[in-house]
């Protein structure tokens, strides 16, 4: 009686599921690591809560951030989430590198733990690091670049964040309670079917990815509409900054690519929870359908991850070369071509599934076609540097490293596009090296470049450059050492996801990769130090004028930090790179002739409710606590329907006089600032107003 009562309350959750106690019962190194990780999560949460209480920050955190619909604050919260998850993902990667460095001798991590590590590492880095990071940047930058007050659906934006957070929460909870999936980030059935993996792990994966995937779909819809409908007067599509173009393409991909993942995840859930046979071995189930569905999401996803980074690089290279972006229209065409082609190549993820040579060849050629617009993009960035005045600031260092390293990944990508070569390197560390080659110099460097580039716009002071350089070079060296050796061992026949090996020829390569992991750890620590030093020394790097890089696009015409309403009056756009054109003409900081009242959407609890009850819903489903699942689902449904019926009950109105007062105060401060040349870009004298520089034409 009492047993059945407790199982009603706790589902299948039991004492053995509590990871943080494991080290006390089985004190070996593996379980100490498992428990240590859960204690880090628990202590991290406790310390954060204690600090918030000590500094009395709960109130501001709630009213200014958690319930805010301001796209910039939502963007910042996405990036905070991304950085936290980056820390965990990197540390997991480091543990895996350390394990394989010692893999010839068996290492120190159990096979099951290693499998959880590669599964969470992949899931986190894709869904909870890269996706929130790029979504955060898009959130912060796109409305500013197109001259909008906010996104089209601010409440939906908050809801998307809440859903993403709930997915991330589930992955973090899996560190403390129960195990995660061992099926990799792709979770291929039949391995992930309940008969083979009856535990909670795969369910954690399903609900984390499904909740976050829903959030991403909604984000995609939000930004497609925002970019198409909210542009300032005069900003035609071909006057949009290149980052916004990439964001538009990314958003379209999100809309069309995320649903297959949600469908695949829910079908797998139907197999696991309801006894369906979509992907089982028997009764007509077929895992090949899962592979197709998953990669119909999975391949466009690659471009979801990379295109925002391409956008960042476009802005960064043009700005720090002191030039207009070369081949703007070409880049737009190339971006949209990549987006379109990305839906037609998914089969190259399983050339080895036994289909006809004709099918393989067609998909192989389609894959290589994507290399054309991508290559053109790289050439366009090089042409942007040509006859420029290049400053090697931190974002530019990332961009330069990206261009050199990324084309090497492009080369191995072309190799993998060929079924003949893929037969040999599929599922080996060569493949692992390839996608890290694309995603670290591509996505991660791009995100970090964007983080450094737009940081002063959001917070009103620049990041410390010295620590920025140390971080950038640590990432570059760490990436190079950690992943180039994996190409070699992959070609030598080392399979991916392998906890240990017997071939002694692999060992030297893994030792080098282990050294690379050390540099990556240094890079991660350096990023934290940089943030600390930057906040401490913020008075030395104040961005008063709002334009610390002499940049070209509209967001730099606003004060830093940007007021909630973004622009005092809606700007009228007359050209591409409107702000650069205005600065050249000497009209950079004009006061508008008249002001009007500004209406902003009110705060909403939607995001918080989605985060809390989304997590509870997932947790209830994972542990079969049906009451919790139903309750959470009911709260989510009722609150969303109520919000839809009631509408925005607390819209904010900012009177014209107040806007005028704030804007004039800012303009006065700007006029008091001495404009600086680019030679002083990293100097404390750079207060965010750029001096016009005239260079003598050198003799040919």
């Amino acid at each position: 009686m009492s047993h059945s009562f407790w199982s009603l309350v706790f589902g299948r959750l039991d004492f053995d599921s509590l990871d943080f106690l494991k080290a006390f019962f089985h004190p070996d190194l593996n379980d100490v690591i498992v428990s240590g990780a859960s204690w880090v999560v628990i202590l991290g949460a406790v310390v954060t809560a204690a600090l918030l209480t000590w500094f009395r920050l709960w109130g501001p955190l709630w009213s200014k951030w958690l319930i805010s619909v301001d796209h910039k604050r939502i963007g910042v919260m996405y990036i905070v989430l991304a950085l936290i998850m980056l820390a965990r993902g990197v540390l997991e990667g480091v543990v895996m590198r350390a394990q394989q460095a010692d893999g010839l001798h068996g290492g120190f991590v159990s096979a099951d733990h290693f499998a959880q590590l590669f599964s969470t590492h992949g899931t986190i880095m894709i869904f909870f690091m890269a996706m929130p990071f790029l979504t955060g940047l898009i959130n912060i930058v796109v409305p500013l670049q197109i001259g909008a007050r906010d996104v089209s659906f601010p409440m939906l934006n908050s809801l998307s964040l809440g859903l993403t957070v709930s997915g991330a929460m589930l992955v973090m909870i899996s560190l403390v309670i129960g195990d995660f999936s061992t099926g990799g980030w792709t979770a291929y059935p039949p391995y992930t079917e309940p008969d083979f993996q009856p535990g909670a792990g795969v369910d954690y994966w399903i609900w984390a990815v499904t909740l976050a995937g829903l959030g991403s779909t909604l984000t995609g819809i939000n930004f497609v509409v925002t970019i198409l409908k909210e542009r300032a007067p005069g900003m035609t599509l071909l006057r949009m900054p290149i980052f916004t173009w990439n964001a538009l393409c990314t958003s379209l991909l999100l809309v069309f690519a995320m649903p297959p993942l949600t469908v695949a995840g829910l079908m797998l859930a139907a197999d696991r929870y309801l006894g369906f046979h979509f992907f089982t071995n028997t009764l007509g189930g077929n895992m090949m359908n899962y592979a197709n569905l998953f990669w119909q999401f999975g391949h466009p996803e690659v471009y979801i991850l990379i295109l925002p980074a391409f956008g960042v690089y476009g802005e960064v290279i043009a700005t720090f070369s002191g030039k207009r972006l070369y081949g703007y229209v070409t880049l737009v065409i190339a971006t949209m071509a990549i987006g379109f082609l990305s839906f037609g190549v998914w089969l190259h993820h399983f050339f080895t599934m036994g289909q006809d040579a004709d099918v393989n060849a067609v998909f192989g050629i389609a894959t290589m076609l994507i290399g054309i617009p991508t290559g053109v993009k790289v050439y366009d960035w090089m042409a942007t540097m040509f006859r420029g005045r290049i400053r090697f600031s931190v974002p530019m260092v990332y961009a330069l490293a990206f261009m050199v390293l990324f084309v090497l990944g492009g080369l191995t990508g072309i190799l993998l596009a060929n079924p003949t070569v893929d037969f040999q390197v599929h599922n080996t560390l060569f493949l692992v090296a390839h996608f890290h080659n694309m995603l670290i110099p591509g996505t991660l460097f791009g995100m970090l470049a964007g983080y450094t580039y737009w940081f002063p716009k959001v917070f009103g002071f620049r990041l410390n450059d010295r620590w920025g350089y140390i971080a950038a070079f640590s990432w570059i060296i760490g990436y190079f050492l950690a992943f180039m050796p994996l190409y070699a061992v992959g070609l030598m026949g080392m399979t991916r996801r392998t906890v240990s090996y017997t071939n002694s020829a692999f060992e030297p390569w893994f030792l080098v990769a282990g050294a690379g992991a050390f540099f990556v750890t240094v890079a991660l620590v350096t990023l934290c130090v940089q943030l600390y030093v930057s906040i401490r020394d913020r008075e030395l790097t104040r961005d008063i004028g709002g334009d610390p890089w002499n940049a070209r696009t509209l967001e730099w015409a606003t004060p830093s930090p940007v007021p909630a309403y973004n622009f005092p009056v809606m700007p009228h756009i007359h050209a591409l790179d409107a702000f650069a054109v205005a600065k050249e003409a000497g009209f950079g900081y004009q006061e508008p002739t008249s002001y009007s009242d500004i209406h902003l959407p009110g705060n909403t609890w939607a995001g918080v409710i989605a985060a809390v009850f989304g997590t509870a819903l997932g947790f209830g489903l994972v542990w079969h606590m049906w009451w919790l699942a139903w309750l959470s689902l009911a709260v989510l449904a009722v609150s969303l329907i109520a919000r839809a019926l009631l509408g925005d009950r607390h819209p904010v109105k900012i009177p014209a006089t107040e806007v005028r007062r704030q804007y004039r105060a800012w303009l006065e401060k700007v006029r008091a600032v001495t404009p600086v040349t680019r030679a002083l870009e990293w100097d404390h004298r750079n207060c965010g107003v750029a001096a016009t520089e005239y260079f003598e034409e050198a003799a040919e």
Partner: protein, 369 residues
């Protein structure tokens, strides 16, 4: 299990469907070497079954890339990998890989070299370099930017089409002798190699004669796996209830590392085996050894074999002192064993987890016995 083994139906072999792309593959179409090589062989010039392209590739690329190969493979003789191909399939794959690399370098190298040069030449402090802040387009530059990559991809596509067809794993390899048939069953964490013509089976070792094609049919009796012998040729998935094919050949005698590349649980890293190419005489005596010196593979022993275990554990269970370390020989193998394994997933009723190798229930049932 016994019943399902009996209800086998070989017609399933050509039944293969891929979400949306339903296709049937028939065996034995075409040959891996082209007509030219057949002529060469008749004329007695050149090594057996190698195209001229291949001869060229192997000689020149061995020279060209000797350094990198030595570097990559180290001095360990044990490492039989893709970088030192020992069969016609892997040799052509290897050649194709370097061919693609060299061609693609035409578009990649300018970036690797050009980016640092541009960055240095046009650095902020260099006032001697020309500065053209408003220059943002050049039709003359646009043409090569698009057309060179297009041309490269066009050339690569031609090679891709040709070699993808030539190296189709389903394509049988032309030879004077009929191919050796091997049926491969993926089990958690080992491969079972069935030699239907000899009624024997092995775990941990796949022996075959050198210079004679091996024609494999693959399936699994658990989750999906992927079969690969890098030194001989590429990889193919093995999936329950379905049959895939792979054709390979070894040019020389030797031991080549083979493995599963698709993660399938705790023992995944141990799912390796030796592919052993030996002379035809040695192969005949090897077959006799296995026939006389193996454990009987009947439904009961298969049931035990199918539980999650590594090759070493299989050897401990079934092996004896006469069998090599971590290798197990079986004999008295029923000729319909493979077809039975495939067909058991095609019944009208579900295979209960306790009857499905690899599941928790299956392993628990065997552990309790």
């Amino acid at each position: 299990m016994e019943q399902s083994l009996l209800s086998s139906n070989p017609s399933v072999r050509s039944c293969f469907c891929l979400a949306g792309i339903v296709e049937a593959k028939s065996a034995g179409c075409g040959s891996i070497s082209c007509v030219k090589s057949a002529k060469l062989r008749i004329m007695g010039s050149g090594p057996k079954r190698r195209t001229m392209r291949l001869q060229f590739s192997r000689r020149s690329l061995r020279l060209l890339l000797a350094g990198s190969v030595v570097l990559l493979t180290g001095c360990s003789d044990k490492n039989q990998s893709f970088l030192t191909p020992d069969g016609p399939v892997s040799a052509l794959e290897h050649y194709h890989m370097w061919l693609i690399t060299l061609i693609t370098l035409i578009v990649v190298a300018p970036v690797v070299v050009g980016v640092p040069l541009l960055a240095w030449r046009y650095r902020y402090g260099n006032t001697r370099a020309r500065y053209a802040p408003n220059w943002d387009f050049s039709t003359a530059l646009e043409w090569p930017m698009w057309l060179v990559p297009v041309a490269i991809v066009a050339v690569l596509s031609v090679y891709l089409w040709i070699y993808t067809h030539e190296l189709d794993p389903y394509r049988s390899i032309a030879a004077d002798k009929p191919p050796l048939r091997v049926q491969v069953v993926g089990l958690d964490w080992k491969w079972l190699f069935i030699y239907p013509d000899y009624h024997i089976a092995t775990v941990g070792e796949m022996a075959f004669p050198q210079d004679r094609p091996v024609s494999m049919e693959l399936t699994t009796d658990t989750v999906m796996q992927s079969f690969m012998i890098p030194a001989l040729g590429g990889q193919i998935y093995a999936m329950p209830g379905m049959v895939t094919r792979l054709n390979l050949e070894a040019d020389r005698t030797g031991e080549f590392e083979g493995m599963n590349t698709q993660y399938n649980g705790d023992g995944f890293h141990a799912q390796h085996f030796q592919a052993v190419a030996i002379t035809p005489q040695d192969f005949d005596s090897w077959v006799k050894t296995v026939q006389h010196n193996g454990a009987a593979l009947n439904p009961t022993s298969y049931g035990i074999l199918a539980r999650s275990s590594t090759p070493a554990e299989v050897h401990n269970q079934f092996g004896d002192a006469a069998m090599p370390k971590d290798i197990t020989f079986f004999n008295d193998v029923a000729s319909r064993l493979f077809a039975g394994i495939v067909m058991r997933y095609h019944g009208d009723r579900a295979v209960s987890p306790a009857e499905e190798p690899g599941t928790v229930a299956y392993n628990a049932k065997l552990a309790s016995k």
